[in-house]
Symmetry: C2
Subunit: 454 residues, 2 copies
């Protein structure tokens, strides 16, 4: 009943372990290359933002099977006929593979591998579930945050969603991904401690309600937080609350609206605060916000200096799933390299180790990407996948969440402007597969058809 | 950069800690009662299933602030003017309150408190974020699982969604909640170890693709898992794959379809397996399934014995957020008890400690619920909130996930049948507020209006 360790080998789907046992027991020794990518953009997304790599690499460096965990596996019926070899293997298990990946914060598109992993096939299999989970989730949230901060047009956005996240760890990871996508900070204190992200928030409705009198609730809070208090003014009546604060004669850092007509109330409050001589007291808004509502508020001329976004951000509510997949593309066994692909159900996967090549105009604006075979030469392009792990050890220092946010901000500014629409862009960003890649897909398909017809 | 401890006091929103400092520094001593509930059903939900209580109680028993965590808080600008008292308080912090809650697996409706917590106001505030996060998420997933298992009409449903969950912890908690809502088990091994849930899964496409020949891939897997293998037949061509397995002459436990036309393929496979004399080999389906697709497949007569449901289940994709809230309803200070409520923006909260009273017909079918004041008498009804924690210690042994699943199954069977519709029921389940509760809301509103007009 105790929580599993952060890097437990049990953090996986059972079939990864049965396949691992299968490879080991049948003596199938091979180095496999898997690639992580999405097949298509979710609704209302014109690009995605890579995130979650740091947690993935932490796991690859740390994953172990403890004795207790192995004891548990031995009790499972599916392993009843499996000998000690497999469990002995697990007790020594370390990830020893190589990883190439796009740095966190990179803007990417469908079919482009965002991570490529080469390792003994057993290892590559055991770590699959964690890699997908870490990268799928944070990429979805960073991509949502990029839209929300785009809509906020330079106003601050703070991630407020922990209570509506999928548990506390999801809240912490959502805060991290939100910052990569462009948010200024989070309400989540643990995320602040763990990643150095700025934390925000001062009072809730309960502070006001716990006091008999709203004005007294404000006064007492100002006593304790004279410089920092952002006073919540919508518990009973917004305008009456603002008058009570002004009557106290002590300028708070700002006020927060959490319900009501944000456009009308914020304009009234701005004018009232300015009249009181408090031009630099901020107006902050939160409560059921998303990119559409923020864009509409700013279009209405709402006087809001910052937005707290919770539920819609940490759940990517308008498009709540992402389809990051992990596909075998190459197998190397006894010196022989064989490409792998899947053809069924109209879901072709291109074989072989790939690289993404990006072309930009002289002014920096991205023109198009080419997905090619690793090692192909595309003069004038830049490669997006970098070596991040060699032999199970990071080959570069851990990513910093702020560097990732900066990269994301830069790349967003380099996107063709039509992709910044909150709706589907008239024309998607152009991504093509290289001729060499198309040829190798065709060759493989013919080879497998021949094999099937024999 | 290291992960925060499971029961860290930093697992909260910053405003909980600033309010805590505010209460402490202003000498505001009071016992507060908060209630957790939802204001309305999400789209396409006719009832909800309570889940997540066990994790909430674990946290309440275990929450602490370590020295390092307190050091971190001292570095935050918002606390720069806060004296040592507050940090000293945090270093001694324990949750000492009382909790009443609906047992996990209970079917409930909007406005009904599913948890009621009474504690010193500081403590009640610090634990808010965790409680909401734990209960909101698992309740959403258990409620989704109840729909999916309803649609599966007695066929087994296995939770397969970890890779699409919001990180690994979310995957583990989703597996737990899915089982409470009616699933048989999960693919998540860590959830199996932690909660004793049955784990499932044998092979992925990569096993097939890693081998040069599909038939050899099947044969080798059967060598290692002769009794357990569920062979994946859709990597290249479903019917050719089934023929290869039959040609091997060794009956697998079953086959799995992960793409294609499940209805047509499953009927063909069933007939082919039966013809081979393998009537008891199962057919399992997975891949983009949800309650609507499962219901449609069964209506088409698909020969599927079990369903693996991932993305849609662990994200509650059709209705991906739930609005569990935590509202202050009563404050007791220096012997005086005062009700609290919030009236703004058409979001009234009923004041005072409440209880939920459920009426059933003699055959067990639920008739209606009454939300009343704690201690009210409603002869013939059953109360749903039970004492689960007294003085910070559990007053009952931890809930077992299987007991919760049994309770949920029983209560689902007692619901008026119209609520089992996958669409909005023609008529919602009747829930009314007691006269006493309505009177106290009116009294409080008048008292506050008088106070405001002075």
């Amino acid at each position: 009943m105790t929580p599993n360790s952060t890097y437990s080998g049990l953090l996986t789907d059972l079939y990864e372990l049965t396949m691992a046992a299968g490879y080991l027991e049948t003596g199938f020794e091979a180095r496999a290359t898997f690639e992580l990518f999405v097949r298509s953009l979710p609704p209302r997304r014109n690009y995605l933002v890579a995130a979650g790599l740091d947690q993935a690499l932490d796991f690859l460096e740390g994953v172990r099977f403890s004795d207790e965990e192995i004891e548990y596996l031995r009790t499972l019926p599916v392993f009843s006929a499996i000998g000690g070899n497999f469990f002995e293997y697990l007790s020594r298990f370390r990830f020893s593979g190589d990883v190439w990946a796009m740095p966190e914060g990179t803007v990417f598109f469908p079919d482009e591998p965002i991570l490529r992993l080469t390792a003994p096939v057993i290892e590559a299999q055991i770590v699959e579930t964690f890699l997908l989970s870490a990268i799928n989730f944070q990429t979805m949230i960073a991509s949502k945050a990029a839209r929300i901060t785009q809509a906020a047009a330079g106003k601050n956005v703070i991630e407020f969603g922990t209570r509506r996240a999928h548990g506390m760890e999801a809240g912490i990871l959502a805060a991290r991904a939100a910052v990569i996508g462009g948010c200024l900070g989070t309400s989540n204190v643990a995320a602040g401690e763990r990643f150095g992200i700025s934390v925000y928030g001062t009072q809730a409705h309960s502070w006001i309600m716990a006091h008999e009198d709203e004005g007294e609730a404000f006064r007492k809070f100002l006593d304790i937080f004279p410089e920092q208090a952002v006073l919540l003014v919508d518990t009973y009546d917004v305008r009456a609350a603002v008058e009570k604060i002004i009557a106290l004669g002590r300028k708070p850092r700002g006020v927060r609206l959490d319900s009501g007509d944000f456009a009308a109330d914020s304009k009234w409050i701005r004018s009232r605060l300015d009249r009181a001589g408090w031009e630099n007291a901020i107006i902050f808004a939160s409560g059921d916000l998303d990119e559409d509502r923020i864009a509409a508020l700013l279009a209405e001329g709402a006087c809001i200096d910052g937005f707290g976004v919770g539920t819609a951000l940490v759940n990517s509510s308008d498009s709540p799933t992402l389809g990051v997949i992990y596909k075998l593309v190459e197998i190397e066994s006894h010196g022989e390299v064989r490409s792998a692909a899947k053809f069924s159900a109209a879901k072709a996967t291109y074989p072989g180790k790939k690289q993404v090549y990006r072309y930009a105009r002289p002014d920096g604006c991205f023109e198009h990407d080419v997905i090619g075979v690793e090692g192909e030469q595309f003069p004038g392009s830049r490669t997006l996948l970098e070596s991040v792990m060699v032999g199970g050890k990071r080959s570069a220092p851990p990513a910093d969440v702020f560097a990732a946010r900066e990269l994301c901000g830069l790349q967003k500014s380099q996107l063709p402007p039509r992709l910044h629409s909150l709706r589907d862009a008239a024309e998607p960003y152009p991504v093509r597969h290289s001729s060499k890649l198309k040829t190798s897909l065709g060759d493989l398909r013919r080879r497998m058809e021949r094999a099937a017809s024999i």
